[in-house]
């Protein structure tokens, strides 16, 4: 198992991380740019999606078409995403093309053309993306849930708000890119087959600058949102539920992860057993840990027809509350095996490792080795998980529903 993590920090503060994988011919990389939805100025909700599109519409001496052709010529598969903290742009590809790909991405990050006509198109697509969300209530309910749950602006939608997108201008967006693509706070992560020395030299040549700019802190404001219903005459009521838990840096983080796994780790976990297997209330039901640097929660989704919706919500809430009353050795042991096994299975994918080491570094300031995570999971026990649950009782639930029926 690859246990080496490569790390190098440029003078300007940009971090380069790598995890070599002996058995693959591919490589995957991510540039994590500190321009996530929570870091945007007010009134620009959705600017992240516009930016993630706009910067690919021509860069360096290539126009939009030439840039796209150059990327396709390398056979690379692009992956862009916007979350609360970062715009992440990356790719997976055959390892031999890595250096050329990084050159192109340097142009995209540092020398995007940012033309006015291309801005209008990128903005229109972002607006259409918000509209399309109305036709995907399952995804929309989880976005609304994060918005309601996290102190503002941490839960701000990365997809955007139509009103704010409509008033967004190219000039304003250029300014955001200029201010937020702060190399001092940027993380580059690569996994798979690569030569770390060569990558460091290349990134240094492309991205080294003299000044080091500190990060601008976010000042979250708590909100009181508890239950929200959005009406939609669809076939199901889509239920999102979220409750507070410890952050990834907390000493109890692994107890929280094991607790969530007891609730919803596999098909023998409590939610699946109680809601689907015993009562047949849902097809889709699950809960997972969702952590930001500043706050964290356990989020749960269930989709169910209107006549079953109230009972579904009641059973879910009861299962959350019942957890601290007792957990068997057997349940803890299944939860731990499940977590460890998914960790190792994911470690075979270069793109999931590149994402993993980058987010570890951002959250924790270091990259955890697989052994470290395995040991921490191993250290948890029935006692430690129950003690954690009793000290951190699930009290407040934020609930969002979309569908033909409102719940109590």
């Amino acid at each position: 198992m690859a246990e080496r993590v490569d790390k190098h920090i440029l003078k300007n503060g940009m971090v380069i991380l790598g995890e070599p994988m002996a058995t693959v011919e591919s490589a995957a990389f991510d540039f994590m740019l500190p321009a996530g939805a929570a870091l945007l100025p007010d009134g620009c909700c959705g600017a992240g999606s516009v930016i993630a599109d706009w910067i690919f519409r021509g860069a360096g001496d290539r126009n939009s078409r030439q840039l796209s052709d150059a990327l396709d010529g390398l056979g690379l598969h692009r992956a862009s995403s916007v979350n609360s903290s970062h715009i992440t742009i990356g790719a997976s590809l055959e390892a031999g093309n890595l250096a050329e790909a990084i050159d192109l991405y340097a142009d995209i990050i540092l020398r995007a053309s940012l033309k006015q006509d291309q801005f209008e198109l990128a903005r229109q697509l972002a607006i259409d993306g918000v509209l399309a969300l109305d036709d995907d209530p399952r995804q929309k309910v989880m976005l609304k849930l994060r918005e309601q749950f996290y102190p503002s602006p941490l839960g701000r939608s990365a997809v955007g708000e139509i009103d704010e997108l409509k008033t967004l201008t190219a000039e304003r967006t250029r300014q955001i890119i200029k201010n937020k693509f702060n190399l001092s706070q940027t993380i580059f992560a690569v996994a798979g087959k690569y030569n770390f020395d060569a990558i460091c030299r290349q990134i240094e040549n492309l991205f080294e600058t003299q000044q080091r700019t500190p990060a601008e802190p976010v000042k979250p404001v708590s909100k009181a949102g508890k239950y929200m219903h959005l009406h939609n005459d669809g076939a199901q009521v889509h239920i999102g539920l979220m409750t507070n838990t410890v952050k990834p840096t907390d000493k109890d983080y692994y107890n929280a992860r094991v607790a969530v796994s007891v609730l919803s780790g596999g098909m023998s976990a409590r939610l699946f057993t109680e809601v689907r297997e015993k009562r047949g209330l849902c097809y889709a039901i699950g809960a997972r840990y969702h952590g930001l640097k500043e706050a964290a929660g356990i989020m749960c989704y269930a989709g169910t027809t209107p006549e079953n919706a109230q009972e579904t919500l009641d059973v879910i809430m009861a299962e959350f509350k019942r957890l601290s009353e007792g957990i068997s050795e057997e349940e803890i042991s299944r939860a731990k095996v499940g977590l460890k096994s998914s960790l190792i299975l994911q470690s075979e994918s270069s793109s999931s490792r590149a994402g993993g080491i980058g987010s570890d570094y951002y959250m924790l300031g270091k990259v955890r080795s697989l052994d470290e995570i395995k040991n921490k999971i191993e250290e948890t026990s029935v006692d430690s998980v129950l003690r954690f649950l009793r000290n951190n009782k699930f009290k407040d639930f934020t609930v969002v529903t979309i569908g033909p029926k409102c719940l109590k």
Partner: protein
């Protein structure tokens, strides 16, 4: 990588691609059955049966099945299509024997009335869930319209009505024929002990009775009908286009797949430049789906109601251009690069490899290495693609749209 094969006396094919350097292993049963093998009366039975296999055997109940998978940290699931039902699991190598034994046991399920009745609710919830996903719904309806009476147009999920009327007895009789050993393949890939797998197959599966299993194979030219369904709660227009293509055994499947990439890959394709880049449509993709004895090109486009006319005109223009002037060398090269890197990356994971090895055996009774596929893709010429366009004329399609009420 080493290929292994053993055919039991009752016709069960056991195949393996052993790679001792992998960190994990994957195993699956591929059953040659799906909605195209159903009559109208029992529509949805294949998919329902897939759910019922998790409900246990004479010895194991559903809770024990779930626990058995979770105890070894298996990442497991199943899926049903028009013509295949696949049960799979990825595990750490030390658990492969156990999970293979478990799957073999589950392939002879109890199919109890009480489990059938409770699972019926879950199936109906799943049908409701997909109704709220118009991007799925539109494909499903378009397939039915395109195949127009041909069994490949049968819905995988069935309808609420067909599921309501289905009896456990009908399911048992369908099972007895379709899950015959000569209609199934047991596949393992990754870090597996081949002798162990064979010994499990001998012990657990050799008593299964061979059956005469049939499937109607006819090519379907497609109805070329055009329909629109109105759903007042939708925000966007969802359009699906379908036209005939070659089957899974046809060597031209590689050229077909490249043609679909040239026309409708999510970036850098003709759809991308004409529709998405210009912000006429928010999503526009085309794919090639190879089936037993037939095949189809299918496209999915999502746009605002205001743009529908322009989008359809543009699509007609794209297909017209394709018939008139074909594709360029440069387009084909880019499509090859993207396809080849995707193939390499996907096959680095045992789970990705399982599906390819399993389907190659299911359709071709042939083992193909990754290199075989790489070479077949490299060998495709522009002329190969042109003769496909000429023979199948993808611009002559069946069209189904779902969208909000139209303002006239």
């Amino acid at each position: 990588m080493e290929f292994k094969k053993k055919i039991l006396a009752n016709g069960l094919a056991v195949i393996g691609e052993i790679n001792k350097s992998a960190k994990s292993a994957a195993v699956g049963f591929f059953v040659k059955t799906g909605s195209r093998d159903e009559t109208k009366e029992i529509n949805g039975v294949s998919h329902f049966l897939e759910h019922m296999l998790f409900k246990g055997t004479e010895k194991l109940n559903a809770f024990e099945v779930n626990e058995a998978f979770d105890r070894i940290g298996a990442q497991f699931n199943a899926f049903t299509s028009e013509e295949n039902t696949v049960f799979y699991a990825a595990v750490l190598p030390e658990y492969l024997t156990e999970v293979t034994k478990l799957w073999a046991e589950l392939m002879r399920p109890a199919l109890k009335d009480e489990d059938f009745n409770i699972e019926k609710n879950v199936i109906k919830e799943e049908i409701a869930m997909y109704k709220d996903l118009p991007s799925f719904d539109v494909m499903d309806r378009c397939r039915t319209l395109h195949f127009d009476g041909h069994p490949c147009g049968n819905s995988v999920l069935g309808s609420e009505e067909s599921i309501d009327n289905l009896t456990a007895e009908q399911m048992r009789s369908y099972f007895a024929n379709r899950y015959a050993p000569n209609n199934m393949v047991l596949v393992c890939v990754g870090n597996a002990d081949w002798e162990q797998i064979c010994s499990i197959a001998e012990t657990s599966c050799s008593k299964w009775q061979k059956q005469v299993v049939e499937r109607k194979l006819e090519h379907c030219p497609g109805s070329k009908k055009r329909e629109r369904v109105e759903k007042p709660n939708l925000a966007c227009e969802h359009i699906c286009l379908m036209s005939p293509a070659v089957s899974a055994r046809d060597p031209r499947r590689f050229a077909s797949s490249l043609l679909a990439t040239v026309v409708g890959d999510d970036v850098g394709s003709r759809f991308f430049w004409e529709l998405v880049d210009k912000a006429l449509a928010e999503a526009a993709t085309m794919q090639f789906g190879a089936m037993d004895g037939t095949g189809a090109f299918h496209s999915y486009i999502r746009c605002s109601s205001a743009n529908v006319r322009k989008v359809l005109d543009t699509i007609n223009g794209i297909f017209h251009g394709l018939s008139e002037s074909g594709i360029t060398d440069d387009e084909l090269t880019k499509a090859k690069n993207k396809t080849l890197s995707a193939l390499v990356i996907k096959n680095e994971l045992p789970m990705g490899r399982l599906v390819d090895v399993g389907f190659n055996w299911t359709y071709l009774e042939e083992y193909r290495t990754i290199a075989d596929d790489v070479n077949a893709i490299r060998a495709v010429t522009v002329d190969d693609v042109h003769s496909l366009i000429e023979q199948f004329n993808p611009g002559d399609f069946t069209q189904l749209s779902i969208g909000p009420a139209q303002s006239t």
